[in-house]
Subunit: 379 residues, 2 copies
DNA sequence: CTGTTAGCGCTTTCAG
DNA sequence: CTGAAAGCGCTAACAG
């Protein structure tokens, strides 16, 4: 029924091994032979059997990208950049193996969708659930994935960290390359040991960005600043909140901050509800900082609904600089993260096309972008 | 090095066949035997070898979800819904096979990330490129994917349609279940034949939604309406534009419409540029309809930058009702599409948990949501 | 440069 | 209900 490598070999009058070599391009093969094989492949419309190949070679071309929320552009942008770098066929291609030589993958007549040395980059949506995170890792382990790229903040629950550490160790041990993107290395701050299962951890300067963002607000003259934090127990949430608190502390506004902080998921609805709550606790608020842009959307909506103008009555700031940040009521002051750059770099490291950073950890800058949603407080 | 099924069998003092049967839960096994096997699995921390399993069984548990742009929430939302339904381990689980019986997949101590009969739902980002679409399909074919879910509008290029038809036929023939979500069946309007490779096509009523949206604008009194269309040659673009044109035609405003239509990608930047162009062509425009919400963002930005107020000077409408539509300057009038419902349903059909609709095609409604960005024209 | 020979780890008849 | 045996389709030494 389905065409196998042996069929191709028979038609090209060579051995199966030769066909395999042509297809993988990792071994010298005479040009004329290659031609014949390629023609047979085309004529038979042969497609490699991935599982069989993976079984024999003890590795597959699957690369998993884990994201916390696929509907959130924050992850979509990173994942897209990584995926462009890894799979799909329009990134820069390294001619595998042999000296000069034609690419083993060529469509007949310019079109066609045959895939050769391609990696299959796929994104897996954990929904922020630790169980699903582990499940996906197991599924990927089971597929003998070539690499795994884990994006976004991590859960700080010790039990989950232990489970993740164990799981990643097994993955690494089985040859899967693990790269973290936008997430600190497992035991927060651990130096990359020789046997570290994690190849590289690309982290964002969430703390610094948050700190500078609140500094910006303070410089404008704000003193009563509400903070809508992300869900508790996540690294991103904690780092951003810490940056915020440090800025306040440096300005001598340390007391009573818990009262001005409300936690919630990274959603618009959370920002909305939290703002109402903050306003109840402190009606004289002059600014609200949101854990990210999506949350800021909800903050703005709640403020407007209360008849408060932005930034005249209350200033608002977000984080991430998602595309829509420019279009919210007044353009949103926020912190830009190099999402595309991080995703692409993580993808390249996962593929071994770029060396891991020194020490395995690289922190990528965060830039405050002052826009129309922040201004000096009234009066 | 890595634990194999044989190791588990040895430890449980049964044959490999028995272990396989326990793990797959598709065959009667004595409870006591099962217990022993499961214990051995836990103790050895065994993880099934996916490729080997897929090779032997001639099918894998991979389910591919193709999207045109992973950074666009339109796709993220659909893909997320589908993925929740398919993989990840928190959806409803059907106890496979055997009478009553314990689930072969159980975490020890409540956590753990072992995966059993799970499917691995993964999303593949084509970036709207026909080559990548075909490439991913080949990659999925090569993995012997259990199902493929293709979301979003299709390219209308005859050559690409032919290539897709051929590719999907091969996939179906190899046992992969193909479901379209938010995309019309291949040869537009073809009745589902018995041998149709496509199990089901869930389409959105883009034409109807667009028609009603423009009717809304006409009812408000607008007559000079600009339209920022999506990229040419895509079903979604064409259907929405047709709906718009029909509404105009029904109102007797048929002439000169080409002049008031500008095409571009589904991006904010495109909306921005197109609006400037439309304004140049017709300074007296009273409304602009965008191909989708993201484009509408750019439209609003351009309008504001020209000193035009929304909706006082110019009304703006989008399409899709993405979450941020509520937060743009004045809340955006748009058309709601049942993204979550469609994604989830497509996922279920792909898994065979829900029957395909009659005739293989189901059209899902589109609802106009009038909001603050549209109002009667000035004067 | 090319052919031969063994498996990779699992599923699945076919017999008990 | 359980075991034995025969591959699934490909890759990877090893010889030529």
């Amino acid at each position: 029924m389905t065409v196998t490598l042996a069929d191709v070999a028979a038609r090209a009058r060579v051995s199966p091994a030769t066909v395999s070599r042509v297809l993988n391009g990792n071994y010298p093969v005479a040009a004329s032979t290659r031609e014949r094989v390629l023609r047979a492949v085309d004529e038979l419309d042969y497609v490699l059997n991935g599982p069989a190949s993976a079984l024999a070679a003890a590795t597959s071309d699957l690369v998993g990208i884990l994201v916390n929320d696929i509907a959130d552009p924050f992850f979509g942008i990173m994942a897209g950049a990584a995926q462009t770098e890894i799979g799909g066929g329009d990134g820069p291609r390294t001619a595998a193996g042999a000296p000069g030589s034609a690419d083993p993958v060529r469509g007949q007549g310019g079109r066609s969708g045959r895939a050769g040395g391609e990696k299959l980059a796929v994104v897996c949506n954990t929904g922020g659930s630790p169980e699903r995170e582990l499940t996906y890792l197991t599924l990927l382990q089971r597929q003998r994935a070539a690499a795994v790229l884990i994006t976004g903040g991590a859960l700080e629950d010790p039990e989950h960290i232990a489970a993740m550490t164990a799981k990643l160790a097994r993955l690494a041990q089985a040859g899967t390359r693990v790269v973290l993107c936008g997430r600190p290395p497992l035991p927060d701050g651990l130096p990359a040991a020789e046997n570290d299962p994690i190849l590289a951890a690309l982290t964002f300067d969430n703390r610094g960005g948050a700190r500078r963002l609140t500094d910006h607000l303070l410089a404008l003259g704000h003193r009563r600043i509400g903070y809508v934090a992300g869900p508790t127990g996540r690294t991103t949430t904690r780092h951003r909140l810490e940056g915020h608190r440090r800025a306040l502390a440096a300005a001598g506004i340390a007391s009573g901050q818990d009262r001005l902080t409300v936690h919630g998921p990274y959603t618009r609805a959370s920002g909305y509800a939290a703002t109402l709550e903050l306003l109840r606790r402190e009606p004289l608020l002059t600014a609200v900082v949101a854990a990210n842009d999506t949350v800021a959307l909800g903050v703005c909506a709640a403020l407007r609904e209360q008849g408060l103008r932005i930034p005249d009555d209350v200033s608002v700031a977000g984080f991430d600089d998602l595309p829509f940040a420019l279009d919210v009521g007044p353009a949103l002051t926020t912190v830009r993260l190099p999402l595309v750059e991080a995703g692409a770099r993580a993808g390249r490291i996962a593929l071994g096309r770029e060396p891991a950073p020194d020490g395995g950890i690289a922190t990528m800058g965060a830039t405050v972008l002052p826009r129309a949603s922040t201004a000096p407080p009234r009066g």
